[in-house]
C-alpha cells in the first residue's frame, strides 16, 4: 500500500513538475543567450518565475518519494515503474499543451502503459 502511495506521489509530482516547467519555459521564450556572463541574467530572470520555482520544488518531492520508495521496493520495480510518467505526460502534452502527438508516440505510450501494468503483477 505504502509502495503504491509513494509511486503515485513520485509520478504525480514528476508529471506536474514537467508540465509547469514546459509551460513556463515556453512562456519565457527560446533561450538564445549562452554567453556565461549574460547567462547569469537569464538564470536570475528564470528564478523569479512562479511556475518554475514550483516545478523545482516538485522535482525535489519526486526525488524524496523515490528515495523513500527504495527503502522497501526493489530497484528493478521502482525505476521502470517511474516510466508511467511518460504515459501521463503524453496525454497532458496533447490536452493541456496542445502539442501534436503522432500515432507512433501514442503507440509508444501504450506500450509503456502495458509494461507498467506487467510490473505491477
Amino acid at each position: 500500500m505504502k509502495t503504491w502511495f509513494l509511486l503515485a506521489a513520485m509520478v504525480f509530482s514528476t508529471v506536474l513538475g514537467d508540465l509547469l516547467q514546459s509551460v513556463e519555459m515556453k512562456r519565457h521564450g527560446e533561450i538564445k543567450e549562452f554567453d556565461p556572463r549574460r547567462l547569469g541574467r537569464v538564470l536570475a530572470a528564470l528564478a523569479r518565475k512562479k511556475f518554475l520555482i514550483l516545478a523545482v520544488a516538485l522535482m525535489a518531492v519526486s526525488f524524496f518519494a523515490f528515495m523513500t520508495l527504495l527503502e522497501t521496493a526493489d530497484l528493478s520495480f521502482a525505476v521502470p515503474a517511474s516510466a508511467a510518467t511518460l504515459v501521463f505526460e503524453t496525454i497532458l502534452a496533447k490536452v493541456v499543451l496542445k502539442e501534436e502527438v503522432d500515432s507512433r508516440r501514442w503507440a509508444g505510450a501504450c506500450l509503456v502503459a502495458f509494461g507498467v501494468v506487467l510490473l505491477a503483477r
Binding site: M67, P80, A83, R104, A109, V112, L118, L119
Partner: protein
Amino acid sequence: MKASERLGPKTRVFTVVVVLSNALGNFALASGMRNRTTASALDYLAAIFSPWVSLGILLLILWLLARMALLSWADLSYVLPVTSLGYVANALIGRWFLNEQITPSRWAGTLLIVAGTVLVGMGTPRSDRL
C-alpha cells in the same frame, strides 16, 4: 544534425556516461536506502549524508548534467531510445548486486517500457526541422 556527426566520439562518451551514471547512481541510492526507515526530516538528513546515498546523489547530479549537455547537441530521438537501455542495466544491477528476483512478467514489463520509450523517441521531430 547529420547521422555521421551523431556518433562522434564526444557523443559516444557522453552516452556511456549518461547510461552508467544513472544505473550506478540508482544502485548506490538503493543500497543506501534499503531497510532504512525515514520518519522525520532528521532521518532524511542522516540518509542524505550517509556514504552510499550521497554517492548516489552525486552520480545522479552527474547524470543530469551529462544528459543536459548531450541534449544540447544530440537529438532527443537519439538520446531517448539509447538511454532507455538504462532500464535493462538497472534490472541487471537489481538482480546481480541487490539480489532482487526478476519474475518473467517483470522482465516483460521492463522490455515493453524500453520498446515504448524507443517508439516515443522515434516520433520526436528532429531538432533541425523545428
